[in-house]
């Protein structure tokens, strides 16, 4: 685990809100959504990086930026050292092939009017993975890879269960032999026992094919299980990033601590020392000044309301964006 595949440098993205004439006359401020506010990440070859946070924190936006579904307003995303948003790169479709995304909802992410074989064939031919004649053989290999019966090829998405559809989505992503998989809440819509099957498949495929995975999810137990490293996002900023086991065993940022303690334990006797977060995620249209977490933080000091903490390495841990990380 050495070579850096993807480098995300200070990426920010603001969605411009609509501002009507009336808003201008009334002097209302523009309603811009600050989805990402300077995210810096490295994705190393062969690793799984988990990304966790509450809904609206920007984790899906980040995933979508990486696959060029959104263009950031600031910062850059480098793939093997070259900027993927540079004009010459934009025309290059090989990036689209080498970095593949898999979506959350298995019911809306497959075209209901195409059979499995049509879905997979389209991916193969668009990227010129093989000639028309070799398609049937490739399709059968893909079905074996994701452990679906071969007769699944001639079926339509509605004939499959949620777990089987996610297998098809994985097959579609793998059809074009990618290096990086972006899994955006891949298993969130599935039941636990099916979740386990898909996670096992993903881990096995990663091992066999040497894939690099960005695993975006809100289920902390699952992220802990599959990830080598984990990044915790709050309001479009990384507040803590580090080795998965260290981070889960002893989180350093007060937000990570609260997030982890909120996950209900399976042991009825383990009521745990729950840290209750007050209030909700502030709106990304109106991010609090200073540390964006200070409005919900138990440890806040005047410094937190005034000054934005930077992500800095902490000895024996990962990197934390908190003024008081040493004391907490």
């Amino acid at each position: 685990m050495s070579e850096t595949v993807l480098e995300i440098r200070d990426v920010s993205l603001t969605f411009r809100g609509k501002r009507g004439v009336l808003d201008v006359v009334a002097g209302r401020p523009p309603r811009d959504v600050n989805a990402l506010n300077g995210v810096t990440l490295d994705l190393k070859r062969g690793e799984t990086l988990g990304v966790v946070g509450e809904s609206g924190c920007g984790k899906s936006t980040l995933a979508r930026c990486i696959v060029r579904l959104h263009e950031p307003n600031g910062g850059e995303i480098l793939f093997h050292g070259s900027d993927v948003f540079a004009p010459d790169q934009r025309r290059d479709r090989s990036y689209n092939r080498r970095v593949q995304m898999m979506f959350q909802d298995p019911y809306s992410s497959l075209n209901p009017r195409m059979t499995t074989s049509q879905i997979l064939k389209e991916a193969l031919l668009v990227h010129g993975m093989c000639g028309e004649a070799d398609v049937p053989e490739r399709l059968e290999k893909l079905m074996d890879l994701v452990q679906l019966p071969r007769d699944a090829l001639e079926k339509y998405p509605h004939e499959f269960s949620g777990g089987q559809r996610q297998r098809i989505a994985i097959a579609r992503a793998l059809a074009v032999e990618p290096e990086v998989l972006i899994a955006d809440e891949l298993v969130s819509a599935l039941d636990v026992s099916v979740q386990a099957q898909i996670v096992n498949l993903l881990l096995e495929l990663q091992e066999r094919l040497g894939l690099t995975i960005l695993f975006v999810a809100h289920d902390l137990r699952l992220v802990r299980h599959v990830s080598n490293r984990v990044a915790v996002i709050y309001l479009g900023r990384i507040v803590e990033i580090g080795d998965s086991e260290t981070l889960f065993a002893s989180p350093s940022h007060p937000y990570s601590q609260a997030l982890l303690s909120a996950a209900p334990s399976l042991d009825p006797d383990d009521k745990g020392s729950k840290i209750h977060l007050e209030g909700e995620l502030p709106s990304p249209m109106d991010i609090p000044p200073g540390c964006p977490f200070h409005v919900r933080c138990r440890h806040k000091t005047p410094k937190c309301t005034a000054e934005l903490p930077v992500l800095r390495p902490l000895e024996g841990r990962g990197a934390v964006a908190c003024h008081h990380a040493e004391k907490i």
Partner: protein
């Protein structure tokens, strides 16, 4: 249920069956479900999608009648709700028994202010005057932790976040001070931090109002942290039932064991997770014997031939299995 037999149960469900018909075929969504619930007690109904937990909940209030046939007994204050006509059910629904649904986004009326929606319940189920109702509405919003309750009464659902909407749902459900709350996955659509807040809220309100709660969820962690009793459902039937601590610490049904082992907790990271082989059976084509037999590691020949009944195994527990998992056997493997 051992020492406090003096207390009469709040709700007794026996032999509850709900069958839907589609295209000439009958789909037994809920089969012979039975349980009792005491005042102030929280019962968790768990299972995978399609196991019949939500339909069970809806059948209690007669909400599945329109689409299928419900038989059996739901004893509420001496009356059988299943046999009751719609007109007599109406004062009970939302009055004595309230329900909150999974999706706070779609279960509120987007065209009415939150204040009007709380007021509707109070108008239908209490004899309060308009000013008393308004006072209660503000009190309820306050109680569920919505800041600046008075000014938010005039706001519409879209002006609230997901967590706040679920709070509004709870406020509406509890406004008429029900004796029983049916909660269908109340936190599934919410973030963990908000989930913790909402569950704590439901628990503390249940305690304050001495209210019984039936909580439908697929998250065993939620059950472990909030419920007193738990019933595990598979293919429309209860397969295991008992006190939460007993069931989760030493599950006896192979399905419960499988469910618990699929959760990635206390497993070495990045190792294969246990997953129950196969898929749940189609309700159109249930096996003759135990519905779980085709996926069961403990299966024996008896399982294919006859269906195990839910039998008392002592200590307030019940189990529907011929080959019970012994303590330590499943969890340790």
């Amino acid at each position: 249920m051992t020492l406090t037999q003096v207390q009469t149960p709040l709700l007794e469900v026996a032999n509850l069956c709900t069958t839907f018909t589609a295209g000439g075929a009958s789909i037994p969504a809920v089969r012979n479900v039975g349980f009792t619930l005491n005042r102030g007690e929280v019962l968790g109904l768990v299972g995978e999608s399609g196991s019949g937990k939500s339909v069970t909940l809806r059948s209690i209030l007669g909400l599945s009648r329109r689409y299928g046939e419900t038989t059996g007994e739901v004893l509420w204050r001496g009356d059988n709700l299943v046999a009751m006509p719609e007109s007599s059910l109406r004062p009970i629904r939302g009055g004595e028994i309230a329900m909150i649904f999974q999706e706070p986004m779609t279960s509120l009326n987007p065209l009415l202010t939150v204040g009007v929606q709380i007021d509707e319940t109070l108008k239908a189920h209490t004899r309060m005057t308009a000013s008393e109702r308004k006072k209660r509405a503000i009190e309820m919003l306050d109680l569920v932790g919505i800041p600046a309750a008075r000014s938010r009464l005039g706001e519409y659902p879209h002006q609230f976040s997901g967590g706040m909407r679920q709070r509004v749902m709870i406020a509406i459900a509890l406004a008429a001070r029900p004796k029983l709350l049916l909660a269908d996955e109340p936190t599934t659509a919410l973030d963990v931090t908000i989930q913790a807040q909402i569950l704590d809220l439901i628990l503390s309100l249940a305690k304050d109002f001495d209210m019984g709660v039936i909580l439908v969820t697929h998250d065993l962690g939620v059950v472990a942290q909030t419920c007193d009793q738990v019933a595990v459902m598979y293919a429309g039937r209860i397969v295991e039932e008992g006190a939460v601590r007993a069931v989760l610490k030493s599950p006896q049904h192979p399905y419960t064991v499988g469910l618990m082992r699929s959760v990635p907790q206390n497993v070495p990271p990045r190792t294969p997770l246990y997953s129950i082989p196969g898929t749940p059976p189609s309700l159109l084509n249930l096996p003759q014997g135990c519905a779980f037999a085709p996926r069961c590691p403990n299966r024996s020949s008896a399982c294919d031939q006859s269906r195990p009944e839910l039998l008392d195994t002592g200590g307030g527990r019940a189990l529907a299995c011929f080959n019970k998992v012994r303590a330590g056997e499943g969890a340790a493997a």
